[in-house]
Amino acid sequence: MSDTPILSIRNLHAKVADEDIEILHGVDLELGKGEIHAIMGPNGSGKSTLAKLLAGHPGYEATDGTVHYKGEELLDQEPDERSLAGIFLAFQYPVEIPGVSIANFLRTALQAREGKDAELDLFEFQDALLDRMELLGMDPTFAERPVNDGFSGGEKKRNEILQMAMLRPELALMDETDSGLDIDALQVVADGVNKLHEENPDMTVLIITHYQRLLNYLKPHYVHVMVKGKIVRSGGPEVAEELESRGYEEFKTAQV
């Protein structure tokens, strides 16, 4: 691990914004530059809440603790500021935007990165888009389709990976990217993430998943187990294998 972690979470408590239900009860986590981490946990453990909170979802609210990203306090930043600072959330349920093509959507997102005073070079954009699609083995016509409109589960997730490839994040949060995917689609998505990580080994990846199967394709350096809003076990890849054979039961009962 490098000296300063890219993401440092200390004693994080969080709740649903409109309700008094605490979901995270003191999470501690450090991610070093270029590392691949996985957080595994049963349904309702709070792992997706953590991912959304890190990306700035307005439906969740931190009540205690701190999150530092590249040394800066993260929690008071707007979602767009976090994105511009290099955080990317691959959604579990990507939103459909009928009437806006993927290309137009990405162009708008990249224009935001240029700021108000600079104009995105459309030829460069087109080249970059084709290049990224080729890397991910996608048909160029994919970019002409309206964002997620009528997409299969696999297509939605591939679209997330394409966005990730175009936006080149420093910290990628993969929220249950494997949910609803068959094994072929899962492999395609995992291959994409692997390629992006090979290309940019400094990119940090946090995988949120219920199942071990994604981790057969995306090899994490570290695996954490989250149960009832806390991380109860951290270790190397062997933790995932333990979970695969024994399940979450012992963690649920042996909780702190």
């Binding site: 990306a55 700035g56 979802h57 307005p58 439906g59 707007e78 979602p79 767009d80 976090r82 994105s83 511009l84 990317f88 959330l89 959604f91 990507p94 939103v95 935007i97 009928p98 009437g99 806006v100 959507f105 708008t108 997102a109 935001a112 990165r113 309206p146 964002v147 966005q163 936006l167």
Partner: protein, 439 residues
């Protein structure tokens, strides 16, 4: 005699009719009589429940715009009109109407030699009386259909005739640009489109104006006939400034195996009312009916549509969408009417609204009236707010809230445009929506 005023009266009709052929004089006078006997619609009528004419339309003060010999040149025409005309792609013909009088017409000579007729309605009175006698304010929009249909049939000053003979297909759209500059006036214009058997034509009407200090009424009566196997696309773009009351009354009559599609866009005017009746009279007829409105400030849009299935095996599909900001308000009232004997009808109706502010409002009243037993019909309506999850998704990609909202609106309205295969119109409207979003 409600609605008879200092300026809107039988003298005004007489003045217009003098010198016209007898059949037309009679038609005007009959229409006026019908106007006089028809009560002014009030909010007690379901069809006018949400548009209070007492408050929205100051009929008493309006002076009808008379016909004036006008010419058109780009040098003297309003900048905005010229800019919009220049933004249009290639056309088969172009017509310009200024304050209710046609000032310019051109038509591809190759089409003219095939018998296509495209001219001002006033010219058509002498050059093609047989067409007007048969179709003008007769079977589609006769005076008896309602108070304002009667008023227009009595007081129209000019308008457009497009006639496409059997089997003739127009590669490019016919384009009509209309401009209103005068405050405190009433403008009555008619459009008559007759597409004979197996012909094909796209027609794009755009009406523009400056902002007006004092209300003007623009009354547009539109009659479209698609004969057997004809294909017609009718597009109306209402992008006037603030001030006017736009009243568009349209009837489309689709023959056997014809396609008669419409798009109605309302972005301008202070009050815009659309009455669209799509009648499917031939078996196998098809009508796609698209509409969108985008309102802000105190704009008020009222859409009143009917899908009238008279013949069996016909298909109609309506999609109207509205985005509303500020205190803007929209009403959608749509009915699918399947007559006895119209078996194997496929008819669908969807109205979706997106509210961009707490004070905007949309009312949606879809309705079905089915007298046949072997039909497929559905209707649906939604009124939604800007979705937090949508905004979060876009913002998590780095877009500011403002840009994200804009993209959601463009996407929302763009779905309607994506169903219309008319390149130039889609580009123009996308730009218009963006302009309005930027304020």
């Amino acid at each position: 005699m409600e609605g008879v005023t200092e300026h809107l009266n039988s003298d005004a009709v007489q003045a217009l009719a003098s010198g016209e052929p007898q059949w037309l004089q009679n038609r005007r006078m009959d229409a006026w009589a019908s106007y006089e006997r028809t009560p002014m619609p009030t909010t007690r009528l379901e069809e006018w429940r949400y548009t209070n004419l007492d408050r929205k339309l100051k009929l008493d003060t309006l002076e009808p715009l008379g016909w004036i010999e006008r010419s058109f040149s780009k040098e003297t025409a309003p900048d905005r009109l010229v800019a919009e005309m220049e933004a249009d792609h290639e056309s088969s013909g172009h017509l310009v109407e200024l304050d209710g009088s046609v000032a310019h017409v051109d038509l591809d000579p190759a089409l003219a030699s095939k018998g296509v007729v495209f001219m001002s309605l006033r010219t058509a009175v002498t050059e093609h009386p047989e067409l007007l006698e048969e179709y003008l304010a007769t079977s589609a929009l006769p005076a008896e259909r309602g108070k304002f249909q009667a008023l227009n049939a009595a007081l129209w000053t000019d308008g457009i005739l497009l006639y496409v003979p059997r089997g003739v297909q127009l590669e490019h759209p016919i384009r009509v640009s209309r401009w209103l500059s005068e405050s405190g006036k009433a403008l009555f214009s008619r459009t008559l489109i007759v597409a004979e058997e197996g012909s094909q034509v796209s027609y794009v009407d755009e009406i523009l104006s400056d902002d007006l200090d004092v209300q003007s009424l623009v009354s547009s009566a539109v009659e479209v006939f698609a004969k057997d196997n004809a294909q017609v696309q009718y597009v109306s773009l209402q992008r006037m400034g603030r001030g006017p009351f736009h009243l568009s009354q349209q009837r489309t009559i689709a023959g056997k195996d014809s396609t008669l599609d419409t798009l109605n866009v309302n972005m301008g005017a202070t009050t815009a009312r659309l009455d669209l009746n799509a009648q499917l009279v031939g078996s196998g007829a098809n009508s796609d009916m698209l509409g969108l409105c985008f309102g802000e400030g105190d704009q008020h849009f009222d859409h009143n549509t009917s899908q009238d299935h008279v013949a069996p095996h016909a298909y109609s599909d309506l999609l109207y969408k509205g985005a509303l900001d500020g205190k803007a308000r929209s009403v959608f009232r749509g009915i699918i009417k399947v007559h006895k004997g119209a078996q194997q009808t496929d008819a669908y109706q969807t109205n979706r609204n997106l509210l961009l502010s707490e004070t905007a409002r949309a009312d949606s009243l879809p309705n079905l009236e089915i007298e046949a037993d072997d039909v497929r019909c559905s209707h649906g309506a939604t009124v939604g707010q800007l979705d937090q999850d949508h905004l979060f998704y876009l913002m998590s990609r780095g877009m500011s809230r403002e840009v994200a909202e804009r993209l959601v609106v463009i996407g929302f309205l763009g779905e309607v445009l994506s169903k219309l295969p008319l390149g130039g119109v889609v580009a123009k409207l996308s730009r218009a929506i963006e302009e309005k979003l930027h304020g």
